[in-house]
Symmetry: C2
Subunit: 308 residues, 2 copies
């Protein structure tokens, strides 16, 4: 099964407008985040300004979109998925703030703007990340919850994806791999944790918010895992092929930091092939939704073809 | 009501052995933390070694002891309180690791050992703190939960105490107050958030684990708030009066960092008087337990009289 627009539109449904979907969901997520967070002038104002600076720095809201699209595929109510979509975005933003610190990736720009520590200083940047991580759990706990997917299970889902065996494990392995030669399996270990874990968690939470049956949750898990890996392979490719201006963050960093990437290990062409294969695998897992996962399909295509 | 050993022992109960209580609870909490955390050699080993280094660095386990003592006062089962006691200790340890970073308090010693970033480097220290914060929610979500105090409410309790309006607000205000003249009310704002919030949360969680009635939870809230403030006033006094060797951390730091403290604002004698008054107020709030809160009473006394 190859992935083409024709393929996507060959079903007996009206063509799906992903740009409209993304624009509308970004507005909804931004509004909800604004409601969930303390006001910018809540005391102490510094921390709330710093949290909001990075949270509203123009992120693409990919994880919230995946969460909401998964809820839609399962026939859920978007309002039930929204807190969980916001929670994963808080986790994502916290991880970027901390990754950008001088002691880690030492990045000056993110999403085209100076990084959090460049604006607020390192101390406040550490605390803003801490606060967003904490906020994520406060928001997740305010979700609806079902007998099948209780608040207990939802909090465990978020904590495990963000914890020392997944998201943080990926960042640690990434830090430790700098300047060393690593193998493709080792690189996959990093990508699975650093990127795939939270993307997979995002779609799973969307399904949980819709009280989806176990078979759908398994399908979403498989979809999230493969889309997450493809996402990071594309990120590696874009770091080599795009300018900093297009990316809104420093391009070519991986090479300079002697970081192992898919292009550096298997070459550009093979990397593109791997990204396509992973996306195809993600597509196949959506069959169980019998054509109702149009938003997830469109997102997977979009993530494969993006140029930033 | 003055606080004396006589006063404490004037009830018709056998004298309470706090040292035995603390020793036994420390063993139980350490065992539980060891079970809850990934093994030290779980991949990537660096992060798990770093988490365990600070978590098992000989902390006094005051917050877990308060949590377990509160559960006992409410007639609860200690096993139900243990996960929550472990969760607050993870939060406390994460906050110490991040507070000790060069970008914050820049401390080289804690509990008599080199601080986390001195051993593992700044990048890993940031991540070890992040991981312990995340772990706290994973552990809290594994508590028992009751209809009155659901997992939702327990997670919200932890997230709010640790969040940008409480624990993190205290650290931000503390950072921002360095080298400036602040008033006693401003100092109280910092202490309420930086110390009292998590101590108060610890005793409240203990009560919640015992499914306590609302009147008991109110009493525990009042107790935790006042003991928490007293705790920080004593900390300020010890920073001036004790040696680094006794404290296991750098003494005299507050003066050198031009940090406002109770002794620097109201003097040593007045500070001691305030600590006694706060502890008396905490004592009074325990009347509702009709003599069953012996462990909490003994802890409040111990915290007032400690020399480290």
């Amino acid at each position: 099964m190859s992935i083409t627009t024709k393929n996507l539109n060959s079903r007996s449904q009206p063509p799906f407008d992903l740009q409209e979907f993304l624009a509308a969901r970004t507005v909804a997520v931004n509004r909800a985040l604004d409601r969930f967070l303390p006001a910018a002038n809540a005391k102490p104002a510094t921390i709330h300004r710093a949290m909001r600076y990075s949270l509203f720095a123009g992120g693409k809201r990919i994880r919230p979109a995946l969460c909401l699209a998964a809820a839609a595929a399962c026939g859920g109510d978007e309002a039930d998925a929204l807190p969980l979509a916001c929670a994963v975005e808080c986790i994502h933003t916290y991880s970027l703030i901390h990754d950008d610190l001088p002691a880690m990736d030492d990045d000056d720009y993110r999403r085209g703007k100076p990084t959090n520590h460049k604006v607020f200083g390192e101390g406040i940047a550490v605390l803003a990340g801490d606060a967003l991580l904490t906020q994520a759990f406060e928001i997740a706990a305010q979700s609806r919850g079902w007998p099948r997917y209780s608040h207990q299970q939802i909090v465990l889902e978020v904590a495990r994806a963000a914890g020392s065996l997944q998201l943080i494990a990926g960042q640690v392995a990434d830090l430790e791999s700098e300047g060393t030669r690593i193998s493709a399996p080792q690189l996959q270990y990093i990508h699975e944790r650093k990127t795939s874990a939270l993307l997979c968690c995002s779609v799973r939470l969307g399904g949980m918010s819709a009280n989806c049956p176990p078979a759908q949750l398994r399908a979403l898990t498989c979809f999230g895992y493969h889309v997450g890996l493809a996402f990071q392979v594309i990120d590696d490719i874009l770091d080599v092929t795009q300018t900093s201006e297009t990316l809104g963050k420093t391009a070519g960093k991986d090479v300079r930091a002697q970081k192992a990437t898919y292009p550096s290990i298997v070459g550009l062409d093979q990397s593109r092939k791997i990204a396509r294969q992973l996306t195809q695998r993600a597509f196949r897992s959506l069959r169980v939704f019998k054509g109702k996962a149009v938003a997830l399909e469109a997102l997977a295509q979009f993530l494969l073809r993006r140029d930033r």
